[in-house]
C-alpha cells in the first residue's frame, strides 16, 4: 500500500441528474474503513475508473450521512466516460478525503446563504445537508440555485424536498430561454436572482459555487447586500493529479489548491494571482 493506491469501493446506487451528469453512491469494500471513514463538507477526492484513470471531484454527500459517499460528475473526458460506464455493483477506487473544508463549525448560530450554478451545487449540497441535518444550530437557510435550463438542474428530488421544507427558502432559476412551459421558478441569471432574493447579511455566511462567470458577478451582489469578504466562501477547481501537494499541477502562485484549498474566502481569492 502506498499513498497513491486507492481504496476499493462498490457502486451501490446511481442517479442520472441530467442527460450528461450522473451521481454515484460508493460504499467502501473494507468493512472497517466503511465504518470509520470520515470527512468534512468541501473536501475532495480522486475517483478511479480502473483502466481509464482518476478524476478529481468534491465529495457531494454530507458527512452526516455515513456508510457511503457520493460524487456527481459531468461526462467530459476519458475517466468520466469510464465512470459513467459503471453499473451498480461494480468496483471503483477512491483516494481521499483531501484538502480543507467549509468551516461549518464556525458558522453555527448564523444564517446560511447557499448560491450555486449548474454542477456547482455538488459541493454546496454536501454543506446544505450537513447543515440541515443539524438544523437547530443555524438560523435562516436560503438556497439560490440556477442552471442553464430546466433539464440542467441537478438533484431535482432534493430541490423538491428543500422547496417543501418550511425551514428552507429556495429560489430556483434557469437562464432566459431555458425554461419550460410548466416552469414555476425564476428566469434569469443567478446574480440577478440573488439580488432579487436579497438575503440578509446580518450574522450570515454565503457559500457560493458555480461557473467562474457566475462567481464573478455574484460576489459584487453579495458585497452590495453587506456580506464581508471573509464571510463569503467558495471552492476553486484546478486540474489535479496527486491531490496531496506533490505533482505540481494545481498551484495558483504560491497557493496549492489541493492543500490550501479547495475552499477559499472571497477575501483570500482577491489576493490570488489571476491564474485560475
Amino acid at each position: 500500500m502506498n499513498l497513491y493506491e486507492p481504496y476499493l469501493a462498490r457502486v451501490t446506487e446511481l442517479v442520472d441528474e441530467t442527460p450528461d451528469t450522473r451521481t454515484l453512491r460508493l460504499a467502501f469494500q473494507e468493512p472497517e474503513l466503511a465504518r470509520t471513514f470520515d470527512f468534512k463538507a468541501g473536501q475532495f477526492g480522486e475517483y478511479t475508473a480502473f483502466g481509464a484513470g482518476e478524476c478529481t471531484f468534491c465529495i457531494a454527500s454530507s458527512p452526516t450521512r455515513t456508510g457511503y459517499i457520493e460524487c456527481s460528475f459531468k461526462t467530459v473526458g476519458k475517466a468520466t466516460t469510464a465512470l459513467r460506464a459503471l453499473n451498480v455493483g461494480d468496483t471503483m477506487g477512491f483516494r481521499g478525503p483531501y484538502g480543507n473544508h467549509f468551516p461549518l463549525e464556525r458558522m453555527e448560530g448564523s444564517s446560511l446563504v447557499f448560491i450555486a450554478g449548474g454542477i456547482g451545487l455538488a459541493p454546496v449540497r454536501s454543506v446544505i445537508w450537513n447543515a440541515l441535518d443539524l438544523r437547530d444550530r443555524f438560523k435562516n437557510v436560503t438556497i439560490v440555485y440556477g442552471a442553464r435550463s430546466v433539464s440542467d438542474l441537478v438533484y431535482k428530488r432534493e430541490l423538491a424536498e428543500w422547496a417543501a421544507r418550511p425551514d428552507v427558502t429556495l429560489r430556483q432559476t434557469v437562464d432566459p430561454g431555458g425554461e419550460t412551459a410548466d416552469w414555476t421558478g425564476d428566469v434569469g441569471f443567478v446574480p440577478a436572482i440573488v439580488e432579487k432574493a436579497a438575503p440578509s447579511a446580518a450574522n450570515a455566511y454565503a457559500i457560493v459555487c458555480g461557473p467562474p462567470v457566475m462567481i464573478k458577478y455574484t460576489l459584487p451582489v453579495l458585497t452590495k447586500l453587506g456580506f464581508a469578504a471573509d464571510r463569503i466562501y467558495t471552492t476553486l477547481e484546478n486540474r489535479m493529479k496527486c491531490g496531496i501537494g506533490k505533482c505540481g499541477r494545481c498551484n495558483i502562485g504560491p497557493v496549492y489548491v489541493c492543500k490550501d484549498g479547495p475552499v477559499f474566502t472571497a477575501e483570500e481569492m482577491a489576493k490570488l494571482p489571476q491564474e485560475f
Binding site: M1, N2, L3, Y4, E5, P6, L8, R10, F50, G51, A52, G53, E54, C55, V76, G77, T80, N87, G89, D90, T91, M92, G93, P212, E237, N238, R239, K241, C242, I244, G245, K246, C247, G248, R249, N251, I252, G253, P254, Y256, K259, P273, Q274, E275, F276
Partner: protein, 351 residues
C-alpha cells in the same frame, strides 16, 4: 565527524566489495556516444569521477521517469490491487556531482509535506550518496548563487575531495559514517589537512559565478506575478520541457492508467512538465495557463519564489542543465540576471 582518506586502489576494492555483495553501484560513466550518464558500474574503471555533469541528473534514481504505483486486475465487477514494494535494495551512488546531490535533498521537502511519499523515501533510505568535489565548470554553471559549490555537501552522505593518489573522505551524515564503519578496511586514516585545504582552494578558486545573489530575485518575484518582463524573457521558449527533464529538482508528474489487455493494467507515475500546454488544461477546455510565457513564469516562480516561501529553500541548484539543453537558447542565469537588474533598479522603472 572524522575525515578519512581512500586511495584509488582502496576505492576500486570498495566498488568490487559492494558489487560482490549485491549492492548496486551507480556512477557517472561514458555511454557509447561518449556522453556521461549515471549508470550501474561493475568496477571502478567504468566510473568517471569528477569528470563533469552527467546528461541527466540524479533525480531519476529516486523519481524514475516512469514507475508503477500499483497494478490492478479486473474480474467482472471485482477489482484486485497488487501493490508495488516500497522498500528497496541497498544502492550506492559513487561520484554524484554536488549540485545533483543537493537537488535530491531539496526534493525531500515536497515529498514529505503532510503526506510522505513512500516510493521516494524508500529509495532515499536505501541509497548512500557519495559526492565527488566538482572540478569542471562552464558558462552555464551557477551553483554558487544557489548556495552550492564544488565541495558543497548538501544531500551527500560522504564527499570525496581529490588528493594525490586518491581522495579525502568527508563524512557528512550518520548514514555516511555507518557506511565507512561497515567498510572500515577500505578507508585510510585522517587526511593531511593542509593537502585538503590546497585541493579545495584549487577547486573553488577558479569559480566565477555569472548570477547575482538570488535573495533580491526572490523578493522581486513575490510581487511581480504580473509584469511585462515575463512575455519578454519567454519569447524563445517552445514549451518542449527539455529543461524540466534534465533538471535535478523539477518533479512535476502525471498519473496515468496503462491497460494491459482488457483485464489487467498498471497505474504509473510519469514525469511531466509545467511547460507543456496541456499540463493545466481542464476537461472543460479552460486552461489557467494558456500562454507559454505564463508557463515559463510558473517554472521560475516555483523555483525561486513558491518553493522558498513554502519550504524555505530554492528549487534550483545552479547546475545549468536547462540552459545547455534548451533548443530555443533560453538561459535561466540570463533571466535571473535580468530580474536582479529590475530588482536593483529604483522604483518607478525605466525613468
Amino acid at each position: 565527524m572524522n575525515a578519512r582518506t581512500i586511495t584509488h586502489a582502496q576505492l576500486a576494492a570498495l566498488v568490487t566489495d559492494l558489487v560482490a555483495a549485491g549492492t548496486a553501484v551507480t556512477a557517472p560513466a561514458r555511454a557509447a556516444d561518449g556522453r556521461l550518464d549515471y549508470r550501474h558500474v561493475a568496477r571502478l574503471e567504468d566510473a568517471v569521477l569528477g569528470g563533469g555533469l552527467p546528461r541527466l541528473s540524479l533525480k531519476a534514481l529516486f523519481l524514475p521517469p516512469t514507475e508503477p504505483l500499483f497494478s490492478f486486475r479486473l474480474s467482472g465487477p471485482d477489482v484486485a490491487i497488487d501493490s508495488v514494494p516500497t522498500s528497496f535494495p541497498p544502492h550506492v551512488v559513487l561520484g554524484a556531482v554536488p549540485c545533483d546531490a543537493a537537488g535530491v535533498q531539496a526534493l525531500d521537502k515536497v515529498m514529505d509535506w503532510d503526506y510522505r511519499d513512500e516510493l521516494w523515501f524508500g529509495r532515499r533510505e536505501a541509497t548512500t550518496i557519495v559526492s565527488v568535489a566538482c572540478s569542471s565548470r562552464d558558462e552555464a554553471c551557477f551553483c554558487g548563487a544557489t548556495g552550492g559549490g564544488p565541495t558543497a555537501t548538501r544531500g551527500a552522505d560522504l564527499l570525496l575531495v581529490p588528493l594525490e593518489g586518491g581522495f579525502a573522505v568527508e563524512v557528512v551524515t550518520p548514514k555516511g559514517e555507518a557506511f565507512v564503519a561497515v567498510h572500515e578496511e577500505r578507508f585510510g586514516s585522517a587526511p593531511n589537512e593542509a593537502d585538503v585545504a590546497r585541493s579545495r582552494a584549487t577547486l573553488t578558486g577558479s569559480r566565477v559565478e555569472p548570477v547575482a545573489p538570488l535573495a533580491p530575485v526572490t523578493a522581486w518575484l513575490a510581487d511581480h506575478f504580473e509584469d511585462p518582463l515575463w512575455a519578454d524573457v519567454a519569447l524563445r521558449c517552445h514549451g518542449c520541457g527539455a529543461c524540466a527533464s534534465v533538471c535535478p529538482t523539477c518533479h512535476c508528474f502525471d498519473i496515468v492508467d496503462e491497460p494491459e489487455g482488457v483485464t489487467h493494467g498498471t497505474r504509473r507515475r510519469n514525469w511531466d512538465t509545467c511547460q507543456a500546454g496541456r499540463f493545466t488544461l481542464h476537461a472543460s477546455g479552460h486552461n489557467p495557463r494558456a500562454d507559454q510565457h505564463v508557463r515559463f513564469r510558473q517554472r521560475v516562480m516555483h523555483k525561486f519564489s513558491i518553493y522558498p516561501a513554502r519550504f524555505g529553500e530554492l528549487l534550483c541548484t545552479g547546475c545549468g542543465r536547462c540552459s545547455r539543453a534548451c533548443p530555443g537558447g533560453m538561459d535561466l542565469p540570463e533571466v535571473l540576471r535580468t530580474i536582479a537588474e529590475r530588482a536593483a533598479a529604483p522604483a518607478g522603472g525605466a525613468a
